[in-house]
Symmetry: C2
Subunit: 175 residues, 2 copies
Amino acid sequence: MLYVCAVELKEAKEKFIQAWGTLGSNWGINRTMAQLHALLMVSPEPLSTDEIMEELNISRGNANMNIRALIDWGLVSKVHKPGERMEYFSAEKDMWKVFKQVAKERRKREVEPIFKVLGEVGQVKPGKHNKEEVKEFQEVIKGIQSFASKTDRTLEMIIKADENWFLSSFIKLVK
Amino acid sequence: MLYVCAVELKEAKEKFIQAWGTLGSNWGINRTMAQLHALLMVSPEPLSTDEIMEELNISRGNANMNIRALIDWGLVSKVHKPGERMEYFSAEKDMWKVFKQVAKERRKREVEPIFKVLGEVGQVKPGKHNKEEVKEFQEVIKGIQSFASKTDRTLEMIIKADENWFLSSFIKLVK
DNA sequence: ATATATTTTCAGAAAGTATTGAAAGTTCAA
DNA sequence: TTGAACTTTCAATACTTTCTGAAAATATAT
């Protein structure tokens, strides 16, 4: 009886971990990294590298690499248990914080290069025989630039905003 | 002289296409698909499959497959030139519309399955000896569910909203 | 210092995805 | 119908990404 319940919880966690992995890979995040994140989200206690290897059936190298990546993204942190030499890891469990952190990192990693490219390609000067085409090209690029900067500002705002402020603003607008 | 200008435009387009491809693959979109989309965005005229093959240096099968996928995403449409048998393709160039369309599709494809899994795993019933653990697990899942439904509603609103309405709302909030 | 525990690295292997190209399928004008 | 023009499919292949595992590096206790 007790056994059954324990298995159910284990299965639920397993299912969630798989789903989170799939979700991640749809969004350009390495599946194992997403699974590892999910595992730590549903672990009441911090886990060691060995426990993670065991739970996800992955190698030490793989575990280490993805733990580092998650730490790099600011989603996981090291925990030192007193009197223990081994490192343990725990994840942020508050989804709003997770979202903000991911948004922040992606913004940092992707917005800068996009603006750079858009700025560069927008510089094309028209010649005598392709004035029209250059103009049309520049229009499209300008449109993208404008969208990108609006999105960027919005994103920055959301990142800085407090959860309740953000949500309540939207709820008010929806009503 | 004229030659130089033409080359510059071509290079700018090329650079943009590459950048768009990279951006896409960071977000879980096949690189060729993103490049094809970029190519059509900067083409004043609709292009045929052969022109696309030529521009991107890809095979007919690849071109065909990615054109279909883009049509499926609602980002590209067939254009029939009067008196011509060959099909031509053109892309939506308004970034706001592109964004809305992508958001709409992703929502359709991803929100449903996530809610399903969250609903399922949230059902775990506590046994005698893991009450605490089940409760903690359910808390995390509930948090994600709540975030997901808020995000979903916000997304729906954005999709339905008119560009100006959306932006001006945000601008007001920022001021 | 030395031994031991733990983490990190990285070349090669495996797995996962995208691409090719030729054959099959479709459409349509004559 | 026929066949030329064009589109779609799909098995084989190429390419990319991820993973492994053992060796190297690092940290800690004695």
